[in-house]
Amino acid sequence: MRNRFAEVFFELAQSDDRLCLLVADISPAGSIEKFRKNYPARFINTGVAEQIMIGMSAGIAQRGLRPFAYTIATFALYRTYEFIRNDLAYQNLPVTVVGIGGGITYSTLGATHHAQEDIAVASTIPGLRIIAPSDPAETEAATRWCAVQQDGPVYLRLGKAGEPDLTSHLKTPWTFGKWRQVVAGSDLAIITYGTIASQCVKAVHMVQEHGLFPSLYFATTIEPMDFQTIDEIFSRYRNVLIVEEHVGFGGIGMRLKALGTQLSSGLHIYLISLPNSFSHSYGKHEELLFLNNLDANSIAQRIKKISS
């Protein structure tokens, strides 16, 4: 995702000289290095200093330019919380905060680098929109949208590198604020977003071999929630499974469960999420997902159990 972000940002910046990139001492991925070389003045490395990265972004946006502030998600969002709240959201400025390593994708770096409660944190800030692409294609569409939107700040939650393409075959284009049905089925609905989406796609393929046909939705825009699609899902399916690479508290699962309890009594909403604790385990991303029952096989087992 970060490489696609870099490619698209570089492409857009060639024709839009308002676009600036602020980073906090993070090594630029792929095409960002080209951007830096071609437009050195518009590439600003604030050093290991995330507060000024956000504060400067606010001032730059106030004077008519379009800054993206880019670093590892935990530092981009947690260290800077009050700066995003006051400088970006309170002043309603079109700044995109790009968080790399959403969820537990920095799986060998320990809990300091796990953005496992970022959706909860970002959701508390009025006016901060949250976009969590599930693959490079959604990252590209979201980046293009962020570069031109004028309505206030965005938290763009990306993964790392090497995520598979899951959506470029879809006929419905990515649209801000709209969730997407990626697999059409009938037995139950699965809702997910972010880097774990590929595990859900694998899980769906696994259960299809056993005669189960779930629908799969990508909740790429988390703030605002797509209440129209939520209504459709809740009215069409008896069982809904939410899969989040995020702690249960404050994620979309908690919000959807709260909504669901107000609706028909026949609706069952299930959630698989990270535990509300700090991980002291290390390994590949998929290995950490496995330890937390969030790998494709665990998700498939859960689908079967719900359907039985």
Binding site: C20, M56, S57, A58, I60, Q62, R63, N86
Partner: protein, 267 residues
């Protein structure tokens, strides 16, 4: 406005103190002493330093020490940017002015109040103006207390790294935080000028109540460096019983204190 502009700065500043004092009788949330310490600085920025195009300001002023905003409000009122009604409804449910500046209010360039934010925003604005190739200057007033925030030093480093010579920062060095004297509670805060110099700033230390000195030093050209004027000031300046008395960071004068203050301002 014309009559105000034609006044000598000392008389203007007396007028701002009087207006702030009058407003203090309507509401309790005032921050009167921290506004009084920066009256001459803010007056000089608006009346002498900021470029104007017809009636609009071209240059930018950011009140990073948001709690001093009363002086900004009364000056913006004198330019007609804020109406008399705006001032009269300060901190009232039907008004637009609160005890801290709110971006979007006419004449207000940044939402401040949480300390250590305005300077970073000012650095961003100065950086953007450089990128645009404009001649716009950014003036920013910070309190000495807010320089205790780590974010202030992140901003100071970046301004020097980026050689933002279109940024002029004023430090209202009244030596008081909300609780105590900085020099007693945080003696390592001093010497401040050496800290700025070592961070790559063109640094001057002046009397923050001397309008002529503020103008003279602020107008000096500096090359490739951001400029800071460390302004020695007195918190509560102008009313003897408010000067350097921490309680006046927060409270408003009662009716008898108001009368006593009026007498002092009139003399």
């Amino acid at each position: 406005m014309l009559t105000t502009v034609s006044l000598p700065p000392q008389q203007r500043c007396k007028l701002w103190r009087r207006k702030i004092l009058d407003i203090s009788q309507k509401v309790s949330a005032l921050h009167i002493a921290p506004a009084y310490s920066c009256v001459e600085i803010v007056d000089c920025i608006y009346f002498e330093l900021m470029k104007k195009s017809s009636s609009e300001f071209v240059d930018i002023f950011i009140m990073s020490k948001g709690h001093g905003c009363m002086v900004q409000y009364v000056i913006l009122n004198s330019f007609g940017t804020l109406s008399d009604n705006d001032l009269d409804s300060y901190c009232q449910p039907n008004g637009i002015l609160g005890a801290h500046p709110d971006f979007g209010v006419p004449g207000v360039s940044a939402s401040t109040g949480s300390l250590g934010h305005g300077l970073g925003i000012a650095v961003g604005q100065a950086c953007a103006e450089k990128l645009k190739g404009s001649k716009v200057k950014i003036y920013c007033l910070v309190s000495d207390g807010e320089l205790q925030e780590g974010s202030s030093w992140e901003a100071l480093l970046m301004a020097a790294n980026l050689k933002l010579d279109n940024l002029i920062v004023f430090v209202d060095l009244n030596d008081f935080g909300g609780l105590e004297r900085m020099s007693e509670g945080h003696p390592a805060f001093y010497p401040l000028n050496k800290k700025f110099e070592s961070f790559g700033w063109s640094t001057f230390e002046i009397d923050g109540h001397n309008s002529d000195e503020i103008l003279s030093v602020a107008s000096r050209k500096s090359s490739s460096q951001p400029k800071v004027l460390i302004c020695r000031t007195i918190k509560g300046k102008g009313i003897s019983f408010m000067e350097e008395a921490p309680i006046w960071h927060y409270r408003s004068p009662n009716p008898s204190e108001y009368q006593a203050a009026l007498l002092e301002l009139d003399n």
